[in-house]
Amino acid sequence: MIAEALIVSAILFSIGVVGVLTRRNAIILFMCAELMLNAVNLSFVAFAKMHGVTGHVFVIMVMTIAAAEAAVGLAVIIAVFRHFGTVDLASLRSLRG
């Protein structure tokens, strides 16, 4: 039972990682990051079945932080769009080292 849950979690996480690494749209990047977080949540819940309530506590924590992060992240994306007229991260390269 736990093995299946962990496999699903790993697949979800990998999809998130690949999304973050390959896509250039900020919104999609954002969604992929959320996917990674929830993949981790899934494995937490799965382990909580064996190790007690701590996993659940973590999941609640992660969801709370993710909600806050979503609010801030979307606000940043809106601000970026207003300023540059695009959310294509490849074109946002005014910081030259």
């Binding site: 990682v17 973050v20 690494l21 250039r24 990047l29 991260l89 490849a90 946002l92 390269r93 005014s94 910081l95 030259r96 080292g97």
Partner: protein, 698 residues
């Protein structure tokens, strides 16, 4: 350990150093606190100034009363303890420990005091002479803006000096030893706004470091050998090892410390320069008390020195050479304080001759009488300088108020000082029945007696038999007595006899010092007159014989007997020695009185000394030699090699390396951080993978 003094006033011995310390704190606070402000805006300027003056006077009054009062209280307490000690006939030292200082493994050092016949005698001299000199200072420093600071330092000095003599172990003694060194530094450079004075203070401090190195090594050796540092324990343990190389080394290293503090060859150079301080300071610190700490230490460590006859011989020889050497320099000094300074070095040499030959009581006796007559001479010189200074101030002329060539005929203007100085001179020269005669005679005859038969005479040093060396020491002592008579009479004659050379415009302003200054001088003159009765020789029984020697018997008696001869001198021999000593002194006085009656020019019109006189007045050029051999090479090494070479070089290397590192790092950092979020994501992923790999593949 129970003592006969348990439960007596001696239980309050700890108060002795604390009383002057309290005075130092109060006066130090007054010196640091901003001048008391008076209410402004009301009344005329003159009224406000009067109020300010009054408050200033009150401050001075408080400082004077506190500064001198604590000394007087300490003196009273010392007398009470002394009386209690006399009453019970103390055999063993009264030791009290109050707190633990350094309990480190097997090294245990406690804060404690030791009251015995030697320490209470020293405390009597310090607080007694100290009180007189504090009193004198009230008059001498009256117009000085640093009045409170001066008394704070002086009180602090007495506190440390009492720690030095009352401490019950070597480390506690060392605290006092360093403390008086600090106060000496502060007071030599008291008028620090003049470069030369500040430099003189530094010189005293640096030269004393060399001696302190010896003291420290001696302490390390004592601890390494017997594992104890308190006097009672360490001396008891060392007594069983007499004659061993380690005891000789301890004694010699201790003596190196003494040579620094007590200005013996080759470390005497700081004392003449120390005259840069106020004259009462020279009287208290650089004549009566601090510089005799070395003599005290040898007497205190007499069990060590008695167990090392070779080291004792070294002490006596160094003392004799110093006495002679300094006396020759004093012959041709023009600064009245320099004459007295070299005289002090010379007299300290006598004391070391005494303690080196095992005549500890004689050494301490000379210490006490010297404290009387040298403090007297310095305070008298202070009165003279004070008078000349005021006279020059009055006429607005700038001239040297300390130069003998600017004095002359002062007996007419300041008769009391002149008489007191004459008494001091006769005492130091050794004219019977003044104090110096008895103490010096005792030293000379003790040396002579040790040469004819004693353990010292049968030892040898560098192949030279001890008795030969002791006869040389005696001869040097005798020649020094002659030189002492010459230079002291010269000083007296130049300052007080003949025509006055101060200047026509200044003579009317020359006057006797105020009562607060003459009173201590007169008391000291009386002490210098009768101080010899403290320890009359059996040869001249004008009263109770050998009081001081009997008094010190429990402390130094055993050690003294170990170095003394088995057969005392015959009475006839002793009479001959006395006659020779007195005849020498008389000859010196006679010669100098004839020689220096000739009129001389004042300083402005005098030519510099030439020939051998020039060498003497230049003190053999020792300072210049040390400057060339030590000071300048050290400066070159420090400034050129160490500072410019190593310091700056290392500094530059480090800065350059740092700059290069910072630039490289910033170049790499700025290339990576270019705003490409995709690259960041790849780097984060790569980092996470690397960490994962590191943890799993470990």
């Amino acid at each position: 350990m129970t003592s006969a003094l348990d439960g007596t006033i001696a239980e309050f011995g700890w108060l002795l150093p604390l009383l002057p310390l309290l005075g130092a704190l109060i006066n130090g606070f007054i010196a640091l606190a901003p001048r008391l402000r008076t209410a402004g805006g009301q009344g005329t300027v003159a009224q406000r100034e009067a109020v300010a003056d009054a408050s200033h006077l009150t401050t001075k009054g408080i400082v004077s009363i506190v500064g001198t009062g604590v000394l007087l209280l300490a003196f009273g307490l010392t007398i009470a303890i002394f009386a209690a000690m006399r009453g019970v006939g103390l055999e063993q030292p009264f030791v009290r420990t109050y707190a633990s200082w350094m309990p480190v493994g097997s090294l245990v050092v406690d804060w404690g005091i030791q009251l015995d016949q030697l320490s209470i005698l020293m405390a009597l001299v310090i607080t007694g002479v100290g009180t007189l000199i504090h009193l004198f200072s009230i008059g001498y420093m009256k117009a000085d803006p640093g009045y409170a600071r001066y008394f704070a330092y002086l009180n602090l000095f007495v506190a440390f000096m009492l720690v030095l003599v009352l401490g019950s172990s070597y480390p506690v003694l060392f605290v006092g030893w360093e403390g008086v060194g600090l106060c000496s530094y502060l007071l030599i450079g008291f008028w620090f706004s003049e470069r030369a004075n500040a430099d003189a203070g530094k010189k005293a401090f640096v030269v004393n470091r060399i001696g302190d190195f010896g003291f420290l090594v001696a302490m390390f050796l004592i601890w390494a050998t017997v594992g104890k540092l308190d006097f009672v324990g360490a001396h008891g343990a060392l007594a069983g090892m007499s004659g061993s190389a380690v005891v000789v080394s301890i004694a010699l290293f201790l003596f190196l410390g003494c040579a620094g503090k007590s200005a013996q060859l080759p470390l005497y150079v700081w004392l003449p320069d120390a005259m840069a301080g106020p004259t009462p300071v020279s009287a208290l610190i650089h004549a009566a008390t601090m510089v005799t700490a070395g003599v005290y230490l040898v007497a205190r460590a007499s069990p060590v020195f008695a167990g090392a006859p070779e080291a004792s011989l070294v002490v006596a020889i160094v003392g004799a050479i110093t006495a002679f050497f300094a006396a020759t320099i004093a012959l041709r000094q023009w600064d009245i304080k320099k004459v007295l300074a070299y005289s002090t070095v010379s007299q300290l040499g006598y004391m070391f001759v005494a303690v080196g030959t095992g005549a500890y009581a004689a050494g301490v006796f000379h210490l006490v009488t010297h404290a009387f007559f040298k403090a007297l001479l310095f305070l008298g010189a202070g009165s003279v300088i004070h008078a000349l200074h005021h006279a020059y101030h009055h006429s607005g002329r700038h001239d040297d108020a300390q130069d003998l060539r600017n004095m002359g005929g002062l007996a007419r203007y300041m008769p009391a000082t002149a008489v007191a100085m004459a008494i001091g001179t006769l005492a130091i020269v050794g004219i019977p029945p003044l104090s110096g005669f008895f103490s010096k005679d005792e030293i000379l005859s003790a040396t002579f007696a040790r040469a004819s038969s004693s353990p010292l005479g049968t030892t040898s040093l560098l192949g030279i038999p001890g008795d030969v060396l002791l006869y040389v020491v005696y001869a040097l002592g005798l020649v020094t007595a002659l030189l002492t008579a010459v230079y002291m009479t010269r000083m007296l004659v130049l300052a007080f006899a003949g025509e006055n050379r101060t200047g026509a415009g200044e003579q009317s302003a020359l006057h006797e010092a105020p009562a607060v200054m003459t009173a201590p001088v007169i008391v000291l003159a009386l002490l210098a007159l009768v101080g010899g009765w403290l320890n009359l020789p059996a040869l001249i029984p004008l009263g109770p014989v050998g009081v001081l020697e009997h008094w010190l018997e429990p402390v130094v008696g055993t050690s003294a007997r170990r170095l003394a001869g088995s057969t005392p001198l015959a009475h006839e021999t002793e009479w001959v020695l006395v006659a020779v000593a007195v005849a020498t002194a008389m000859a010196g006085i006679g010669y100098a009185a004839m020689q220096f009656r000739k009129p001389i020019q004042d300083k402005e019109h005098s030519r510099a000394d030439t020939g051998f006189a020039g060498v003497l007045s230049n003190a053999y050029g020792v300072d210049a030699a040390i400057d060339a051999a030590v000071v300048r090479p050290v400066n070159v090494l420090a400034g050129g090699v160490l500072a410019r070479g190593i310091d700056v070089g290392v500094d530059r290397t480090f800065s350059a390396t740092g700059r290069l590192l910072a630039r490289t790092a910033s170049f790499i950092g700025s290339r990576v951080q270019d705003g490409d979020v995709g690259k960041y994501a790849w780097l984060v992923a790569a980092g996470a993978l690397a960490m994962l790999a590191a943890f799993t593949l470990r």
